[in-house]
């Protein structure tokens, strides 16, 4: 299996990016964006999570099976959230 060794330099780059993104998300919270504030916050969070999954958790260098598991997990979480929220979004009285 994956014995791909990532250089510490890359890890250092990732952690610095993560720190910058954290600062950006805090800053963005103080900018008036209306309903887009939450969207920006979640996009940045997803960006950070993706970096952690791909590099710290080595998924980028892992076999297809691991990638499939990750995608399946995200997909099912999406099902739960999307299909439930679809009900709330289409209620005429809510």
């Amino acid at each position: 299996m994956s014995e791909h060794i990532v250089s510490p330099k890359l890890y250092l780059g990732i952690i610095l990016t993560l720190m910058v993104l954290t600062a950006v998300t805090v800053g963005a919270a103080y900018v008036e964006l209306g309903p887009w504030n939450i969207v920006v916050a979640l996009v940045i969070a997803t960006l950070k999570a993706t970096l952690v999954v791909l590099y710290f958790m080595h998924v980028r260098y892992s076999p297809g099976r691991t990638k499939l598991i990750v995608v399946a997990g995200v997909f099912w979480l999406g099902l739960l959230l999307f299909m439930t929220l679809a009900d709330y979004a289409t209620r005429s009285w809510y």
């Binding site: 099976r65 099902l79 439930t84 679809a86 009900d87 979004a89 289409t90 209620r91």
Partner: protein
Amino acid sequence: MSATESRPAEQFPEKHYLNADYGIRSWLLTTDHKRIALLYLVSVTFFFFIGGIFAGMIRLHLLTPKGALVSPEVYNRLFTMHGVAMIFFFLIPAIPAVLGNFFMPLMIGAKDLAFPKINLLSWYLYMIGGGLALFSFMSGGLDTGWTFYTPLSSVYSNSAVAPAVLGIFINGFSSILTGLNFLVTVHTMRAPGMTWFRLPMFVWANYATSIIMILGTPVVATTLALAGMERLFHLGFFNPQLGGDPVLFQHLFWFYSHPAVYIMILPAMGVISEIIPTFSRKPLFGYKVMAAASLAIAVIGFLVWAHHMFVAGQSTYAALAFSFLTMLVAVPSAIKTFNWTATMYRGSISFETPMIYAFGFLGLFLVGGLTGLFLGTLGVDIHVHDTYFIVAHFHYIMVGGAVMGYMGGLHYWWPKISGRMYPDTLARFSAVVLFIGFNLTFFPQFLMGYAGMPRRYHSYPPEFQVLNILSTAGATVLAVGYILPIIYLLWSLRYGPVAGRNPWPSTGLEWQTDSPPPTENFHVTPTVTWEAYDFENRPDLGLDKPLKTDDSGRGHD
């Protein structure tokens, strides 16, 4: 019964997993998947009879329109505890944890599951969860319905909700760990030559079931934890008075609990897919399609949950979408049913006990499945929602389907588990009794439900009495069908004739080893060179010998 006439007589193996070690410690601390399966066998049977006693009391109570036995409050507790015991502590673990645990490693040629200690941990979690549920039953009972709908469960109920919820929460982790163990086992523990498309269908079925277990169960754990905290600390996640939403609970609950129906039925389908080729002496029709259908049921099963909530106040558009998606599940289920029938077509069918259960399964699952389509249709559901029509429908699936599959599997593999045969005539008789009793119990419930008798009421208008009496009479017959197997299976442990390695005979790897198998399953790690259910190219099975039907009724040897 003459088990071995046309082939050399087989001896009972000297050393096997049952006598490998003695004493209570050797059972309670075992990591052998076969012994853990037997621990599960004993414990799920226990819960089955607990649930059965509640069922018997419900049926007795409903003999008269005003209720013959208990007060309304106690009646609420009876049907709730019946549901909780049967669903969470019998149906969900029954086939995977007993038959799957025992046979998956044998069928793929592995020495054990990938994580034997976690397997034992699963059983302990199950026992702790079951213990808490029993505690709840005995300390005030439980009256919320097995669905624990809020705010009844979180605010108004005066029964022991908290321990039951905690018990089911803990039991959920047993289920998750079993699913995890199975998935990893199928991926990494297969014997040389056991490719994915040589796996027996029972393995595929358990694989699909495990997917549901690991993706669905965590959600119900969260849900019940939130409901439990809401009850204990007066929070309001699901309470409109405090800003929450009760329909949210139903979404979260059914996200797991609808797929949970497939946790019950998929392994039963797997069992049937083993039994039918064996007793038709023909390869399973459409192997790859069957495997794909199992996975499709597991996936589509996650897309239909809100059909339980058509009248609960969700949006009309969501209801429409869920109604449509519900129809989709019928497709892989129908494919499976067609393929089983096609497997039997021009087969050399013999009517041993497991096959009779399989026939029972086919008929009952068909009725249960088709009535499911009625209920998935929005307009019809509004008419029959919360009536006995629903009760009959899901008993046809869960008892007619899952329990028939479980009984069939138990009879099919009993010679391997115990090394001995049970009395065949008696067993076939009892399978027929079960089938008749089941239909007598639940078919009248379709009629009452369609005529409008609501479920979960302790009394009913007098015009329903005839049907209710029929149903109660059927339940009595059904009980005989469940008690008889216990007696003759236990009898066979001591007095049954030696079964030999492959009594039916069947093509699976599990039949290549001793009965009962040694602790390490196979004396030498097997190498698989044949396709699944390939009866034609297997001279070792002795199928070329002429068919002989003696009064034991078994076609071969």
